[in-house]
């Protein structure tokens, strides 16, 4: 398949009330992703990384710039891109199996094939024994697995993941990270992964894109050349993590200062 190309993306959010200025969320975002790459986007909260993912997913139309999947420009959501949302987004009235079937159902896959495929992907994420459960009966980690199976089942070329593990406890998180790498090597999908955990980004990805905020922009694009499986306790791993951390820390410091500056200058003082 083709590359994903993010070209000059900018996004401005117009606020509802008239006297408030529109907020610049993203500015001058440019990067490309090769087929089969695992790319993480890290940055402080509020840097627009989720918005960027939604733009790639076609759920938000950017105010400027374009996203290309190979030669095709993204104009809306499409089943070539599977999305795993932060809040799982499993439909609570459907069983796990029926949730995984959803994408196939929407694409009019016959019932029998649908069930077979859904079961295959449930076993890939280790949920075979839970197909009859409702989402409310699952733990956070299991919900996330179901969400991953649901996004993979209709065979998208790209998997977009929006802070998928942020709500999980540390152990479950590490287990799922390893499992995700297993799924990645089995399915050969291109993965774009949003996280605020630098360690997670370094552990998982080929490439880490570091974003800064106000407005959200890319400050660094760092290839991670460590072989898989990676060892978190290795010196090299920690060095890379530290380096990225510093970038974010500096950025955050600058930001706090500029916010204080804005407060005193602007009309926000009350």
């Amino acid at each position: 398949m083709e590359k994903i190309l993010i070209k000059d993306i900018g996004h401005v959010y117009k606020q509802q009330s008239k006297n408030k200025n529109p907020i610049k969320i993203l500015e001058g975002i440019n990067f490309e992703i090769d087929q089969g790459q695992f790319v993480s986007i890290v940055g402080p909260s509020g840097c627009g990384k989720s918005t960027l993912l939604h733009i790639i997913g076609g759920l938000i139309k950017p105010t400027s710039g374009r996203v290309f999947m190979g030669a095709n420009q993204v104009t809306g959501p499409g089943k070539d891109r599977g999305v795993v949302f932060q809040g799982y987004a499993l439909l609570p009235w459907r069983s796990v199996l029926s949730n995984v079937e959803l994408g196939l159902e929407i694409n009019k896959v016959p019932r029998k094939i649908r069930k077979e495929l859904a079961r295959e992907f449930l076993s890939l994420v280790g949920l075979s024994n839970f197909e009859k459960y409702y989402p409310s009966q699952l733990s956070g980690g299991m919900k996330q697995r179901a969400a991953i199976a649901r996004a993979l089942v209709y065979d998208p070329k790209i998997l977009l993941m929006d802070e998928p593990f942020s709500a999980l406890d540390a152990q479950t998180r590490e287990i799922l990270q390893t499992e995700l790498l297993g799924i990645w090597s089995k399915t050969k999908k291109t993965i774009i992964f949003i996280t605020h955990s630098v360690e997670e980004a370094v552990f998982l990805s080929d490439k880490v894109i570091v974003m800064g905020s106000h407005p959200g922009r890319i400050i660094r694009n760092i290839p991670i050349n460590l072989p898989y499986p990676r060892n978190r306790s290795l010196g090299e791993f920690q060095q890379i993590r530290e380096k990225i951390w510093e970038e974010i820390r500096d950025e955050a410091k600058l930001n706090t200062m500029s916010i204080i500056h804005e407060r005193y200058e602007g009309n926000e003082v009350t």
Binding site: L59, P77, V83, F85, L91, W93, L102, Y134, S136, Y154
Partner: protein, 267 residues
């Protein structure tokens, strides 16, 4: 082994019985007081009657066929009005809730209309539709329409946008968004609205039957009072309460069955 299972079953049943007895304790106490106080001469028996007399009165009416006549006609009025409200209110609510523009346009009218007491409108309905069955069914329809309509609108508006986004990423059309997400997601509030409506329906039914009817439980209450059949009056009141409770219970069961997925017992 078998003995133990029987023991466990016995224990389970006895716990259930105990909790049932506990939650109905006050009703029993009240019934006892109602029976005792007039018998002891502390309340005027002519005014308050006693549960025993009321029970006998219900039995008598059941035997001479009066009970069936009044109960059935009341039930028919309620169900006609309620079903009409559901048939009309649910699709309309789904439609209004889907389109913010329409909702904004209609909201003031909806808020105003539902504040107009159905009882205040009864003379108007009689004026237009006469004193017959139509005006009674229409007033019950009117009273039950608002909770159904408003709950449906709120149900549709309250659907988590994340669900909609997620099916959109799978390539869902607008129609699929509606059938796969919006409709099932708004089922619980719609059912709650119908349950609320059934309570309104009973209330308005009684008023309608008191004003212009010669049958039905509401008629039976006023008529018994006017002819000074006090036990029969209380019997009608008790029957109305039972009717309301039964309706509520049935809809509640349907609600539970449909929203089984809400119960989370595994973790």
């Amino acid at each position: 082994m078998k003995g133990m299972r029987v023991m466990r079953l016995l224990k389970k049943t006895s716990i259930k019985l105990l909790s049932f007895a506990y939650s109905n304790l006050l009703i029993v106490v009240l019934l006892a007081l109602w029976q005792l106080l007039p018998s002891l001469g502390l309340l005027k028996i002519a005014y308050v009657s006693t549960p025993y007399e009321v029970f006998i009165s219900i039995l008598t009416m059941a035997q001479n066929g009066e009970l069936k006549v009044h109960l059935l006609i009341s039930l028919e009025r309620i169900l006609s009005g309620l079903i009409m409200a559901v048939i009309f209110g649910v699709p309309l609510g789904l439609f209004i809730g889907r389109f913010i523009r329409i909702e904004q346009l209609l909201d003031p009218i909806l808020q105003l209309s539902r504040q107009i007491s159905a009882l205040a409108l009864f003379p108007v309905f009689i004026l237009f539709l006469g004193i017959g069955e139509t005006s009674k069914v229409v007033i019950i329809f009117w009273a039950s329409l608002w909770p159904v309509l408003i709950n449906t609108i709120n149900g549709v508006k309250g659907v988590d946008p994340l669900y909609i986004k997620s099916v959109l990423t799978m390539g869902a059309t607008k129609r699929m968004v509606f059938t796969k997400v919006i409709l099932p997601a708004s089922m619980p509030p719609i059912l709650t609205g119908i349950r609320l409506a059934s309570a309104y329906a009973v209330m308005v039914l009684v008023a309608a039957e008191m004003i212009g009817a010669n049958s039905g439980l509401g008629f039976l209450v006023t008529n018994s009072q006017e002819t000074f059949k006090i036990p029969q009056m209380y019997a009608a009141i008790v029957l109305l309460a039972l009717l309301g409770v039964t309706l509520n219970f049935i809809i509640y069961r349907i609600e539970k069955k449909i929203t089984r997925w809400r119960e989370s017992d595994a973790w």
